[in-house]
């Protein structure tokens, strides 16, 4: 990345290096900022599902102080008329396996957003889908029917 200080002044260049060392920018800060923007856009454009049923260890929101970690279990989200159930398990390869099911049954386009990445998969005719090797971290799912019917919905942010 390009340097953004006045390089004609050597002391500023020393200070730049000094502050990079003592107070480094958190490496994920830019991608977390972009993720926050993505989630906000999803919320603006879509109906946000609500948690209906969650295992004990589940994140309820993206607020830092409330953030908890989902390990495994089933979470149900709903927003009339859509219900989404996702089951989390550990993939053999180390990431998380997210398999889920959407009602009413129909083919859905499922998008999984995380800081710096987006995965997409189509569900089958019955609304069942699976995403393998999802990295841990804050996650938001967005779902819309591939036939364009019904509302587009998104989940709250959960921390895998």
């Amino acid at each position: 990345m390009a340097e953004h200080f006045d390089s004609s002044e050597p002391l500023l260049s020393d200070l730049n290096a000094l502050f990079r060392t003592i107070d480094p920018v958190p490496p994920e800060l830019a991608s977390m900022s972009l993720f926050a923007i993505t989630v906000e856009q999803l919320r603006a454009d879509m109906l946000e599902l609500e948690h209906v049923e969650t295992p004990e260890l589940v994140a309820r929101s993206h607020e830092a102080e409330e953030r908890e970690v989902v390990r495994t279990g089933t979470i149900t989200f709903a927003c009339e008329p859509v219900t989404v159930m996702i089951n989390l398990s550990e993939s053999p390869t180390g990431g998380m396996c997210v398999d889920g099911w959407v009602a009413p049954a129909a083919p859905y386009r499922v998008e999984l957003y995380q800081p710096g990445s987006r995965l997409a998969v189509d569900s089958d005719e019955d609304g069942a889908f699976v995403l393998f090797d999802v990295p841990e971290g804050p996650t938001c799912l967005a779902l819309c029917r591939t036939d364009g019917e019904g509302p587009t919905v998104c989940t709250p942010v959960i921390e895998l």
């Binding site: 990345m1 390009a2 953004h4 200080f5 006045d6 002044e9 002391l11 500023l12 020393d14 200070l15 730049n16 290096a17 000094l18 502050f19 060392t21 003592i22 107070d23 920018v25 958190p26 800060l29 830019a30 977390m32 900022s33 972009l34 926050a36 923007i37 906000e40 856009q41 830092a64």
Partner: protein, 203 residues
């Protein structure tokens, strides 16, 4: 990347303008690049206000969120950098104020007790990271500067010259005095370093 590499180096102001226009146009790649390249400056603007690191992360994220929420109301794209800096500085003040209040409430002092309250950006752990003698000497002398100079130099260390005008306004400094203040702070630091034997061996 630089002029000598055959590509034009965008100023920070140009980058902020590009971010705004890319966002408005719904073009994601340039927007992502700009968020990545401007985040360090925002980080240091916020941290220079004594906002603890974990809070500073929330503040910087909040600034970017506010930027896209207000993308429609920033009239002149060339004003985007100033908008970001002013917003970051205000949000940092607010966060620092709330943090101080919270600290006061959660740690009531008993009568007569004087608590040595470290500033949020005070050393301690930082110095552990400074393995080089030269950096340690530099940091020691930076901390001996008036707070205003410390803030100024920290931000300047992550800004390019064309953005000084925006920085001046964001830091509440007169536009005409920013160059002079920068010069004065650098001179003070040079003077301190010249008196520091540790620097003589390295500078």
């Amino acid at each position: 990347m630089g002029a000598d590499g055959g590509t034009v180096q965008l100023t920070l102001g140009d980058r902020a303008a590009l971010a705004l226009e890319a966002y408005r146009a719904g073009v994601s790649d340039p927007f992502v690049d700009v968020v990545q390249s401007l985040t360090p400056l925002l980080w240091h603007v916020v941290r220079a206000q004594n906002v603890p690191r974990d809070l500073a992360e929330d503040v910087v994220q909040g600034v970017w969120l506010a930027f896209v929420r207000n993308a429609g109301t920033i009239k002149d794209p060339q004003g985007a950098l100033k908008w970001l800096l002013v917003t970051a500085k205000r949000a940092a003040w607010e966060a620092a104020r709330k943090h101080r209040e919270q600290e006061r409430r959660s740690e009531p002092l008993s009568d007569g007790e004087v608590r040595a309250e470290p500033r949020a950006d005070e050393p301690g752990p930082e110095e552990v990271f400074l393995t080089g003698e030269r950096d340690r000497v530099l940091w020691r002398n930076v901390r001996a500067l008036p707070e205003r100079c410390q803030e100024m130099l920290r931000i300047m260390a992550f800004a390019d010259r064309p953005s000084y005008r925006d920085i001046a306004e964001a830091t509440g400094m007169g536009v005409t005095s920013v160059g002079a203040t920068r010069g004065r702070c650098l001179d003070k630091l040079r003077t301190l370093l010249a008196q520091d034997e540790g620097w003589g061996n390295h500078g």
